[in-house]
């Protein structure tokens, strides 16, 4: 990965800002965190914070089991901002 990790406080604060792009990314089909990261152009460790926040507060949920590489896909629940 070799990137500098930003202060988690700063990254988590941006969750609200990321709801729209993440919900847009998973609108068509459930995506794994690396796939979401690629779609929205942000590092995967940051996407983990956002996806887990969105999952906790009901915007996303995991769909099915992990794939062969060990990744879960996350889908929109229908909860809107």
């Amino acid at each position: 990965m070799n990137q500098t990790l930003r202060d988690p406080r700063e990254v988590m604060r941006e969750e609200m800002l990321m709801h729209a792009p993440i919900l847009a990314a998973v609108a068509e089909e459930p995506l794994t965190i690396p796939q979401i990261a690629e779609r929205i152009g942000h590092p995967a460790p940051e996407v983990v914070y956002w996806v887990m926040g969105m999952r906790r507060y009901g915007f996303l949920s995991e769909s099915g089991d992990a794939d062969d590489d060990g990744f879960f896909a996350y889908a929109a629940t229908g909860r809107q901002v």
Binding site: R9, R13, P34, F71
Partner: protein, 920 residues
């Protein structure tokens, strides 16, 4: 004596002590600083060696604690200090921290946290995931009640004279809740579009982000949500209280009058505005030209009022306030502004072609201004009227517009810096340090030139800003000085005089009296005049000020009128319940680093010699508004967006709550404040905080707990289910390089516990532990270790020297393999777990104001005779239970609490006998 015992901290040691003492009949006060009792144990997955679920064991204890008739539990509370009292006990100052939620009403339903617009790291999930500013500690919290995390009033909110919650609408915009952001503005004023353009944005001067790379575009964000609302909604969409049967007249329809009318109408009063001019808006319509504030924006704002039934009668100058009141109103708000213009004291002022600034601007606003094509215009004076007049003249075709000002330089002009810089950029010329001696006229009676003389007296700011709050009306100090000479004569086809504005007192002088200068005499706080039914708002009370201050004043007056009409006192309450302002340095100190974000700024079109009245500033796009809002640092943490308050079904949110401090007397004290965990980033060779897939064991316990922050055990770097997991024991323990030579006692065992749980949760995972010594000295501990080995966990003896990260986020661990020849070996893992040790919690050492609480050489609470009297400290009557005195697992903590309880009971009984003997 209020309580027999104070127990400090409600972890398993504190709960056990409290319950046992309460069972013996002692009255216990239990004080816990977090929002729930339970301490660290309730956050664990399972406990070794039985693998019982931690919450199944802790839960009943938490519930007994909170429901025991002999225990009074104060969660989310702290002790300020403890001192010895005269009867051998202790005087304790207890602080119940403000929760901003009425716990008696809160049902723990979870709605507030779902609606909250602020995300912060969740300390109850070891910061693996966010929680909200409105939060319930964790699902099994006892009591299960919500808290708003507030750390002061954000500087932007504190700086707004209108009382608008800037942080709130910024966080709503960041969340995409544009309409809610608009509504939050409407809570203060109907003039959202107007303020989004013409406010001088004192909030931005206060913004902490300006200490980093630049302020947020707070004003422009307001403008964005207003434009968005007006483009997509019919009417304001607000609720109005049922009719009160009272009616109020508002005299004047400027920002103060309109805001007062809006607030009063929303309270259910019938409101009529009387306006002398042909159209409403005051200076917002007649003083600020449309290239800065388009008329349709002012009209859209004013339509908010008419939509809720406010009647606006134009061409209705009020000449007698008493007669107005007697015509059927219960109260009157006078908001007539500051409209008396100072006259130019020079020969020739009556010549044709000499006009006053206000009448010139008013005619221009009504599109009956002159055609100035080819004309040379001289503007006398340097205030906001002068700047607007000069820029309007250029747009009407003037070949030149020259401002003649007594001020010696741009910074001394009595206007906001932006007014000057924009005027200069559009080609307005300035002649500084100059007075007008005479206006020369032609035989036909028309002005032809302005004769000037040097002005030598030192120039100070004029009325326009003298009352402005710091930072609100910034003088043009930072503007570059332009060449200036005291010209002797300037050719002029039109002269516009702008020599300052003040209040015309003739309407109110008899009824209310005159205060400072010619302003109305009114109470500064209540805005009530000596005619009790007459309240004053805006410039009429303050002198020429700003739209934003006029709005704030209108809001205040309306609130006071409402109380007056209800027969309530105008004293003893706060209009805007604010906490102390969050300091910039505290906000910055919360962050280890703040990433640069390019500031979002408005695009202002400033052409030389502009010829049209089109708005010069472009609005933000949605992307810019959100991205600009995304720079917010959440200074006060809670943004005061009010979403929780709006949605809470129990109406439990209470922003007015404050810390409650009380004094209690207790007979003895038990310190059971537990421990802290080693900060893993102090071992940089392990890469915690640098590599996302290096986590602590506390984080792993959260990942394994039923209330985990992720859907299962995932690595934080990319959400992958880890296959190869390494543990590194003794991180921060038995390690002199980090100042802790002590063994933390429980890390080996919790690692083995987690090894077993991982193998249960992820059957395909390989678990390897790198250890120095395996410390499994407890009943069934060795068997527990053997069981883990039998399940397939690997244990490699030897220290880990270094961890590096591979391209895919995997971790290369370089370790010593003592049992296989002692060579240095490398292995790759998906996830590394650091078995962090414990550290003393030094929160308590300064609580005791008489004799300091004794600590041992490692800063744990000292037990001077631990072997014979465990639990006793150096202060008679003060005892210690659990890990506050040093490393212990749960079993040992419970045992230690039992010892402390016995000591407390002995102490109290001894005191009791001594007192009885003294009586005999």
């Amino acid at each position: 004596m209020d309580y027999d015992v104070l127990v400090l901290g409600s972890g398993i040691g504190g709960m056990e002590s409290s319950i046992k003492l309460a069972d013996m009949g002692y009255q216990v006060l239990l004080v816990e600083k977090e929002a729930s009792v339970g301490g660290r144990m309730i956050l664990l997955s399972k406990v070794f060696p039985t693998l019982d679920c931690a919450s199944c064991i802790s839960g009943p204890k938490m519930s007994t604690t909170i429901n025991h008739p002999n225990i009074k539990t104060l969660a989310y509370s702290e002790i300020d200090h403890i001192s010895r009292n005269t009867h051998g006990g202790f005087q304790v100052t207890v602080r119940e921290k403000a929760k901003f939620v009425d716990w008696a009403a809160c049902t723990g339903c979870d709605v507030c946290q779902k609606e909250c617009t602020v995300a912060v790291p969740d300390q109850f999930n070891a910061e693996l995931a966010p929680r909200r500013a409105a939060y319930i500690a964790f699902p099994q919290a006892v009591p299960k009640k919500a808290i708003l995390d507030r750390s002061g009033t954000s500087p932007c909110i504190a700086a707004c004279p209108a009382g608008i919650k800037a942080h709130g609408y910024v966080s709503l915009t960041r969340t995409g809740k544009y309409e809610e952001a608009f509504q939050l503005n409407l809570d203060a004023t109907p003039l959202v579009g107007t303020l989004g353009r013409a406010c001088y944005a004192p909030c931005e001067n206060g913004c902490t982000r300006s200490q980093v790379e630049g302020t947020l575009p707070i004003r422009m964000i307001k403008r964005y949500v207003a434009d968005e609302h007006y483009a997509t909604h019919e009417g304001p969409g607000v609720e109005v209280s049922p009719p009160t049967g009272k009616s109020v007249a508002v005299v004047g329809s400027g920002p103060a009058g309109l805001t007062a009318a809006w607030q009063l109408a929303r309270q259910g009063h019938r409101v009529t505005i009387h306006e002398a001019q042909a159209s409403p808006g005051g200076y917002a319509r007649h003083g600020i030209p449309s290239f800065r504030l388009p008329k349709d924006v002012v009209e859209a704002d004013i339509a908010n009022l008419t939509a809720i039934g406010v009647e606006i009668i134009c061409n209705s100058p009020v000449a007698d306030l008493q007669a107005l009141k007697d015509s059927g109103y219960d109260a009157v708000v006078i908001a007539t502004g500051a409209h008396r213009e100072a006259a130019l004291d020079a020969a020739g002022v009556d010549a044709a072609g000499v006009v006053s600034g206000l009448s010139y601007l008013k005619d221009s606003a009504a599109e009956v201004g002159p055609d100035l094509t080819g004309k040379r215009v001289v503007v006398v004076g340097g205030d906001v009227v002068a700047m607007n007049a000069a820029r309007t003249a250029l747009r009407q075709g003037a070949t030149s517009a020259t401002v003649v000002a007594e001020a010696g330089k741009p910074g001394a002009l009595p206007c906001n810096e932006i007014e000057y810089t924009e005027a200069a950029a559009e080609g307005v010329e300035f002649v500084f340090s100059t007075s007008v001696a005479e206006l020369r006229t032609a035989a036909s009676g028309e002005v032809t030139a302005v004769r000037c003389v040097p002005f030598s007296a030192p120039s100070t700011s004029a009325d326009a800003s003298e009352d402005a709050e710091a930072g609100e009306t910034v003088q043009a100090a930072a503007a570059p000085a332009t060449a200036s000479t005291a010209a002797s004569e300037l050719v002029a086809d039109l002269v516009i005089t702008c020599l300052g504005l003040d209040v015309d007192e003739s309407l109110f002088v008899e009824l209310a009296g005159v205060g400072n200068k010619s302003r109305i005499l009114a109470n500064r706080r209540s805005l009530q005049t000596k005619a009790k039914w007459l309240f004053a708002a805006g410039d009429v009370a303050s002198g020429l000020s700003t739209i934003t201050r006029a709005v704030g004043s209108g809001r205040r007056a309306a609130h006071m009128v409402d109380r007056f009409l209800k027969g309530e006192s105008l004293d003893g309450f706060e209009l805007d319940s604010k906490l102390s302002t969050t300091k910039h340095r505290d906000v910055l100190a919360r962050h280890s680093s703040i990433t640069h974000r390019d500031p979002v700024t408005g695009q202002v079109r400033l052409n030389q010699q502009p010829r049209d009245f089109a708005e010069i500033e472009a609005g933000l796009t949605e992307e810019e508004a959100r991205s600009g809002a995304g720079s917010c640092l959440d200074c006060g943490i809670c943004s005061e967006c009010q979403e929780c308050a709006k949605q809470c079904p129990a109406f439990a949110i209470d922003m007015t709550q404050r810390d409650k401090v009380s004094e209690v007397e207790v007979g003895a004290v038990v310190v059971s404040t537990g421990h802290k965990l080693f900060a893993a980033d102090l071992k940089p060779e392990y890469g915690f905080g640098k590599f996302p897939n290096v986590i602590t064991a506390m984080q792993m316990d959260r990942l394994l707990a039923p209330t985990r922050p992720f859907n299962t055990v995932l690595r934080p770097g990319d959400g992958k289910v880890p296959d190869r997991i390494a543990y590194i024991s003794c991180t921060g323990s038995r390690d002199k390089t980090v100042g802790n030579p002590l063994c933390s006692k429980f890390c080996c065992m919790y690692s083995i516990k987690q090894n077993q749980l991982i193998m249960g949760a992820l059957p395909l995972a390989d678990v390897t532990m790198h250890y120095m010594d395996m410390r499994a000295a407890g009943k069934r501990y060795e068997e527990f270790y053997t069981q883990a080995r039998d399940m397939g966990a690997q244990y490699i003896k030897g220290r880990v020297a270094k961890i590096t990260e591979e391209e895919n986020g995997d971790l290369l661990v370089r370790y010593e393999d003592i049992e296989n020849g002692g060579g240095i070996v490398e292995a790759s893992y998906d996830l590394v777990v650091l078995a962090v040790g414990i550290q003393p919690n030094r929160d308590v050492e300064n609580l005791f104001t008489d004799a300091p609480l004794g600590l041992d050489e490692y800063y744990y609470v000292a037990e001077p005779s631990a072997e014979l009297s465990p639990g006793q400290t150096n202060i008679p009557g003060v005892f210690v239970a659990g890990t506050a005195a040093g490393a212990k697992d749960i079993v040992d903590t419970i045992l230690h609490a039992g010892a402390a309880v016995a000591q407390v009971a002995a102490h109290l009984e001894h005191q009791h006998f001594a007192e009885q003997e003294a009586l005999v």
